[in-house]
């Protein structure tokens, strides 16, 4: 995938399919440590040990629509290509946590890309699921919590186009603040 935010969208899709009601997306970027970490944690159905053992294999999928599942192996490959690591932890009935890291300055590391649109679409496209986005850099932390938005919005829908637009802008501005204002 050309952007890390597309991997995030894709991994989140797994969480959604697992019946999660809360999905936490965490990005930690450190230029000083030359490291970028992406973590996706959900409270969905989880996987048992047996399944987890070879879940990375493209031939492990619970899809009925086709025989290969690509999402996890694509992400793992992306991490390994950038001298990073990949880990997946899961417990049936509790949830799943996928974590991948990248050498920040690695030439093959894809840019984060349009995370603002990604979050706006995830939140608006799945009104029944709560999302927490936490992004940390050497300069600070930005947090977006869909539960807080919904509290403010009361009975106004999160998929209202004006709200979607607001989310996008809020993310963009928030990330600017923790990236030296650029």
């Amino acid at each position: 995938m050309r952007e890390l935010s597309l991997h995030i969208m894709d991994l989140t899709e797994n969480s959604i399919r697992a019946g999660s009601t809360l999905i936490e997306i965490e990005i930690a970027e450190s230029r000083s440590k030359d490291l970028m970490t992406i973590k996706i944690k959900d409270n969905g159905c989880g996987m048992d040990k047996e399944f987890l053992k070879d879940v990375i294999s493209p031939f492990k999928t619970t899809r009925t629509t086709r025989k290969v599942g690509l999402g996890l192996s694509l992400f793992q490959t992306a991490c390994q290509r950038c001298e990073g690591s990949f880990r997946i932890r899961s417990k049936p009935g509790i949830g799943t946590e996928v974590e991948g890291s990248f050498k920040w300055s690695h030439i093959d590391r894809a840019p984060l890309g349009d995370i603002a649109s990604t979050l706006a679409l995830l939140i608006s496209g799945n009104p029944g699921i709560e999302f927490v986005y936490r992004h940390t850099t050497d300069e600070g932390t930005y947090i977006l919590d869909s539960r807080e938005l919904k509290q403010i919005l009361e009975d106004v829908a999160v998929n209202n186009p004006l709200v979607v637009d607001w989310i996008k802008k809020n993310v963009k501005e928030g990330l600017k603040d923790i990236n030296g204002g650029v």
């Binding site: 969208m9 894709d10 899709e13 629509t65 599942g69 799945n126 209202n160 637009d165």
Partner: protein
């Protein structure tokens, strides 16, 4: 935070206009396929274009949601347009530009663009 104030203003504005609430039966629905294949093929850009065009045209009675892969990977990015009468039309192999045109011609003017559709999915 200034931004939160803006969100509150949006809420008031929306309430005044009595926009549609989620799950309203009279709304047209657009469902965007968001499996790995769809995302890789540009589904996010398509969904962004749809939301943007709806906002630009002040089109408020449309609900846009997403769904996982439905197994028609070679047709991605694809969307379903479901009108209040229950009719479903599937558009395939979309670009953001095509998505904008669908909003204008189909959603706003009620004229499906049949060349881009697949029947009986």
């Amino acid at each position: 935070m200034k931004s939160i104030e803006e969100l509150k203003k949006i809420k008031e504005k929306v309430k005044e206009m009595t926009w549609l609430r989620q799950g309203d039966k009279k709304a047209t629905k657009i469902v965007v396929g968001m499996g790995t294949c769809g995302i890789a093929a540009g589904a996010r850009q398509v969904m962004t274009a749809i939301m943007d065009e709806l906002k630009k045209r002040n089109k408020t009675d449309v609900i846009v949601t997403q769904t996982g892969c439905i197994g028609f990977c070679k047709y991605e990015p694809l969307i379903d347009v479901i009108t209040p009468d229950g009719e479903k039309i599937t558009y395939v192999n979309l670009t953001p530009e095509m998505a904008r045109e669908i909003v204008i011609k189909h959603i706003i003017n009620g004229q499906a663009i049949t060349e881009w559709t697949v029947k009986n999915f």
